[in-house]
Symmetry: C2
Subunit: 440 residues, 2 copies
């Protein structure tokens, strides 16, 4: 326990002008400027806690403002007082009696809660001198259970059931820690298959990916049906049938259309179909899964543990795509990972954007060490951009995440990047504005 006190917060509206290069383009998100509401918890020591919530550009200011509001539940507290009952801390943060009307537990206010809760984890891990995944690895089962707010999920996973899972995995954990350190986590690449990329670029990126040791490739679909199939065949021609191909429609279709379109893509032998319809449509996903016979993945827009609970209960998904900052940070994700383990559904985190890869490696490690105790059918998304801005960027070797040993949550961005990409007055944005003026 630490007597360090959190004394203040700094926030930054951080935006990268990625839309200029069609990076991150898909059937729905056509022009993302990968962005973040970034926060720094200041303390009465030399330690700082960094956290961010990922956004797509416009509206990041709303998340920043919500982070500033919610910081009243953080600033002034000792780290120890949070550590002693972190479930209650999280519940206070998401339960503000007036603010919760704006959610509850969804959208802007929940994204903001994620930034703050993750920043507390970054601080905690730095104070302990461990990466977050190891901090979690070294806890007792009881400590881990105490991190979780079981409200609204105890019909699917009770504290006793969670404890049982954790205790069952404890004796073999040290062995998995050693394996994890030696071999890392299997990754897959989304960098080759963005919507806005030309055929030539896709082919080249597939070839480069194979050379670099990648075995799992994701392609964005949801355009014209014939063109989706054509682009899929293009990728298959490059990567062969022994490698895995996943397709991602980014919520483009209604349920009936999704069944039709997913079925039409079966000849590509997709390992999964991702986000075929509205992220809120639990029953729709279950129907698409049943009627298409294709493995279904979703989660990056799934806004809370209550929604994940139902995706699992309804048999909607074969792949549980947790997101590190759409739900309320580490704690809510631990609940989701343990539920997925109980239902036997593999966790394959959503990543990319800015900072999501850095975050999720810690969560997948928790899944392997404490929850599922297996790496089978588990892959972590990887997208190769913006890592250069991080103090301790992810380390990828032959298509695998090699786990960090540096203390913290790996999310700290270099001060010069924070300055350059601050919106709207950082140098990068001043130059964007000038360029726009010249074009006009």
């Amino acid at each position: 326990m630490s007597t360090i006190r959190i004394t203040g917060i700094r926030t930054i509206d951080l935006r990268f002008p990625t839309s200029r290069f069609h990076i991150g383009s898909d059937a729905v998100n056509k022009d993302p400027d990968y962005s973040a509401a970034y926060c720094i918890l200041e303390t009465d020591s030399n330690f700082e806690g960094h956290g961010l919530t990922f956004t797509l550009g416009r509206g990041t200011d709303l998340c920043v403002q919500a982070v500033e509001y919610l910081s009243r539940f953080v600033v002034g507290r000792t780290l120890e007082s949070i550590q002693l009952d972190m479930a209650s801390f999280c519940r206070d943060l998401i339960g503000d009696t007036q603010f919760r009307w704006l959610g509850p537990e969804k959208g802007v206010v929940h994204l903001a809660a994620a930034a703050l809760i993750n920043a507390v984890w970054d601080l905690w891990a730095k104070v302990e001198g461990k990466p977050v995944w190891l901090l979690l690895a070294d806890m007792t089962p009881e400590q881990i259970v105490s991190l979780i707010d079981f409200r609204y999920i105890d019909d699917a996973l009770s504290p006793a059931e969670a404890l049982e899972i954790l205790k069952r995995n404890e004796p073999t954990k040290a062995d998995r820690v050693a394996k994890l350190r030696a071999n890392g986590l299997q990754a897959y690449t989304t960098s080759a298959g963005w919507f806005g990329f030309s055929d030539e670029k896709i082919k080249r990126l597939c070839q480069e990916g194979l050379r670099d040791g990648w075995t799992h490739f994701k392609l964005k679909v949801g355009g014209d049906a014939a063109d989706d199939l054509r682009r899929g065949k293009l990728v298959r021609a490059e990567i062969g049938w022994e490698n895995k191909l996943m397709v991602d429609a980014n919520q483009k279709w209604g349920v009936l259309e999704a069944i039709e379109r997913t079925t039409a893509l079966k000849e590509l032998d997709p390992w999964w179909m991702e986000e075929p319809t509205s992220p809120d449509d639990i029953l729709g996903h279950a129907r698409i899964r049943k009627e298409s016979g294709v493995r279904i993945a979703t989660g990056e827009h799934c806004h809370s543990k209550v929604m994940f609970k139902q995706l699992l209960q309804a048999g909607s998904i074969d792949v549980c795509q947790i997101d590190s900052c759409r739900v309320a940070g580490v704690n809510e994700n631990l609940a989701i990972i343990l539920m997925a383990a109980k239902f036997g559904v593999p966790v394959c985190p959503h990543a990319g954007g800015v900072g999501l890869c850095e975050y999720v490696q810690h969560l997948s490690a928790f899944d392997y060490l404490w929850a599922s105790a297996t790496l089978e059918n588990r892959v972590v998304e990887y997208v190769d951009h913006l890592h250069e801005h991080f103090l301790t960027p992810v380390r990828i070797e032959r298509g695998r995440y090699m786990l960090p040993e540096a203390a913290g949550y790996s999310i700290e961005i270099k001060p010069e990047s924070l300055a350059e990409f601050a919106f709207p007055n950082g140098q990068a944005w001043l130059e964007e504005a000038k360029a726009a003026e010249t074009r006009a």
Copy 2:
């Protein structure tokens, strides 16, 4: 069609210090300051369109900011260009490629969309010289279908099915318009049963309610189990067993606890149990309904038509409690009302707060005229406060909403109230600040 052009927008962060009087207090929302992100669409004519989204105080500024951002989809357009394809207009508003990440279709950004879309309806109705309910009543079935974005719901309700419902009801509609004008809509009162009220106050308000002709009373529950039952018996002693009593837990419980607590309240013969658990728990509500055998109501926190679709598909609810501004305004509500009609579930709108009663009378009229064509088991919530701030407040007679004939959506607030309760610089808030200073 109207060539009037929308030329600008004014927004107001409007907050009423209702928490001082325990008005609106329940098991979860303990201290609401009824508030609104309020907007005024200015035009190149004498007409203005007023709209608001309801909030509970803190965070209203986020909604105001989101309204200002989304106004780019409204300002500069002619009313005609919106009227010609309103479904596309709504879809643009909720589909901004960067902003939608903050939802999608939920929370702050969706609340903001509601304010704007409702303001367009207010403008449209004022230009036509009709109240919104009559504007809708005078449309053709085809026009009404064109107002609805069927994306993500066509597996439950196709445009053809919607058209069929509307056409089936068209021949008898004039008769219902006459009945509606003569008799209004059955209301129920929540004013008697707030959480923070003393026994004496509850008793007095029940007696007053009976005198004023009320037959349906709602009580807030979700406190100590024995106390809930005691307060319920208190109300029953006043209103007898021939009047209806509804209970409302405001999301207090998990699924298992909700089953237990709902069952324990059966001896009160509740007409419905409202919000027994998380508003996102579709499968949880279905289970509570099945295992308790009590009629289940929810919807005021249900954030989109996709969620309502599933509540209907899963057999989760006996009562569909639409909210006029949590989903994206009139248009999304028409979709929900038509789905409810198809599934045979009565629509009993959530109201209260500020402006919600003024709004929902129009939507219930649409339900009766075009969708369900019946008033059976349909009641509209009524709470008796803040109506004095409206230019054309709701008119309640012997427990019934008497429909407005004034043009517009009944939501326009008096200029002097807008000035007095603007946060933080209106006179009411300057006085609050001074009073707080004196107390300190």
